[in-house]
Symmetry: C2
Subunit: 296 residues, 2 copies
DNA sequence: CACTACTATCTTGTTTTGAGATAGCCTGAC
DNA sequence: GTCAGGCTATCTCAAAACAAGATAGTAGTG
């Protein structure tokens, strides 16, 4: 059974004429006859009443219903990839908590305005988990901290973040090693790339990573920092956005530790759905139009 | 885009191997490659990731969802006609009010027991309307009074009915012409073949058809007869089934007027769905097993 | 570095397909 | 009843598509 045959069958059922069906689908009448006949042979039932009026038989009418489902699904699948202008379907994005909170909203807004027919799904998690999601096909693209080592990714430097030390009291200089040693550090759960920077920071002050509390959400973490539970390290933009809500203070870090880039990563562009290609385009434009996004 | 290609694509996506997909669908690996490649060329997107692991790309995963819908509809359509043993789908029956009430229930019960997966739909109406429904493809088969003249029907004598005169008072002989002339007759709406018999009956007593009230349902009609509104003509079985509910009385009619056959009619058997073929078979068995159904 | 398992490509013979030409059939008009 | 017009079935042939096998190339493994 071929989709081509089913299209001809539907045309015959709807027009009530083999000739009309042939014209409608740009072929000749003999081919319509052949396709219908082949369908009838395969299903071992007469689908079209030819005596007098040409009309679907009971069996034909029953087939029409299933054929409509089939052809509808087919048309939708084709329009997923060949839809002119507007993309459709679904776009699944993986991003870090901090990126989702601060960087993504304007980009998603621009994208949704450009491609209103695409359903957007966001999954958040630390970098290591996001890479797993991408490899596992559970998301179409991710925003992660630092370049991915894997070779066959398409990478685009999306945002440049500057990490700052966050604490509950004003800081003008780095806390003493003694202070650091006795303080707790708060970080996202295992896999967060910012966490590596915390350890780097401590190491640069001759302190081994002590207690690190793991958090699942940004709000919880900042709330605990504000309560004096300890320090954390976060992008400046993220902290600024929340500073009015929490009594927290920041300290700039040396650039070797502070600067970290957020990359957009996906597989090769040839594997992209139009929805994803359009998103990458929107992102590229946003990055170009507002270079401060990637400036340190 | 061919269903064959889509099946291979699904097999590759599920097994993660071209070779495995080829074995599963009884073909060779080079054909799998060719079909996938053709799909990719048509949609202008890479569907399968070949580097390293063989797995669907983002685009491929998107296609999987639509393909599943397509193939499911296809499988259901095929099983409609090629389902082994049990028929499935839908059976739309047209029948007269009296047939539906008395004759069909045991047949439908037997049929449903044999083919539990078939959805049964009954439409009732007078013979003329039923024929229209059948011609219009709105039902798959009908039960009508009298042979259909049209040549290209498959006919089966299903039931033999004996019409009786029904009135509100006991009758031992035919009411007088005078009585008939001043009485009302109750019948189904235009198109009911029993109605012709009423006119035949009146004519045989030298009376022109006077007032005939039209009813849509059997209950309403019998209720009005019982209330003394007038006479009607109905199959004996129908009246007997309702006699305990209504105070009605019957009188036998001459066989030329009384005997009327109910036929099962559908188009040629080649146009039947398995559900319809199975129903015809059930009906034939019922008629053979209980010849009194068609005996006068 | 070689081995293994896999996919891509090429080739060949066969099947399928599309389009035209023709014959036969039904319908409606005169 | 006959005839014309429109429709479908059948036949034919060339072109295209396809399946299968053989072979080459590639990635991952020890």
């Amino acid at each position: 059974m071929q989709l081509k045959s089913l299209r001809l069958f539907m045309a015959v059922a709807k027009t009530g004429s083999f000739v009309a069906a042939a014209n409608q689908l740009h072929t000749v009448q003999s081919n319509v006859t052949a396709h219908i006949k082949k369908l009838e042979d395969e299903l071992d039932v007469q689908l079209i009443q030819r005596a007098g009026r040409v009309r679907p038989t009971s069996a034909g009418l029953a087939l029409v219903e299933y054929t409509e489902r089939m052809l509808t699904a087919h048309d939708e699948a084709v329009s997923l990839f060949k839809g002119q202008e507007k993309a459709c379907g679904r776009l699944r994005i993986g991003a870090m908590e901090t990126t989702t909170a601060i960087r993504l909203p304007p980009i998603l807004a621009a994208y949704h305005a450009a491609q209103p027919d695409v359903d957007i799904q966001i999954k958040t998690g630390p970098t290591a988990e996001l890479v797993e999601l991408l490899l596992d096909g559970q998301v179409d693209c991710v925003f992660v901290a630092g370049r991915l080592e894997h070779s066959r990714y398409h990478l685009l430097k999306a945002f440049s973040e500057q990490l700052v030390l966050v604490g509950s009291t004003p800081m003008s200089t780095m806390p003493s090693s003694q202070k650091l040693l006795t303080s707790a550090f708060l970080a996202f759960r295992q896999g967060c790339s910012y966490r590596q920077r915390i350890e780097l920071l401590l190491a640069s002050h001759g302190v081994n990573a002590g207690r690190i509390f793991e958090f699942g959400s940004l709000d919880a973490m900042l709330g605990c920092v504000a309560a004096g539970m300890g320090y954390t390290v976060l992008p400046r933009g993220t902290v600024e956005a929340h500073q009015y809500r929490f009594g927290i203070h920041t300290l700039e870090l040396p650039s070797s530790i502070a600067n970290i880039d957020t990359y957009f990563a996906a597989f090769e562009p040839e594997t992209w759905t139009p929805a994803l290609a359009s998103f990458a385009e929107t992102l590229r434009e946003a990055v170009v139009d507002e270079p401060q996004l990637t400036a340190s």
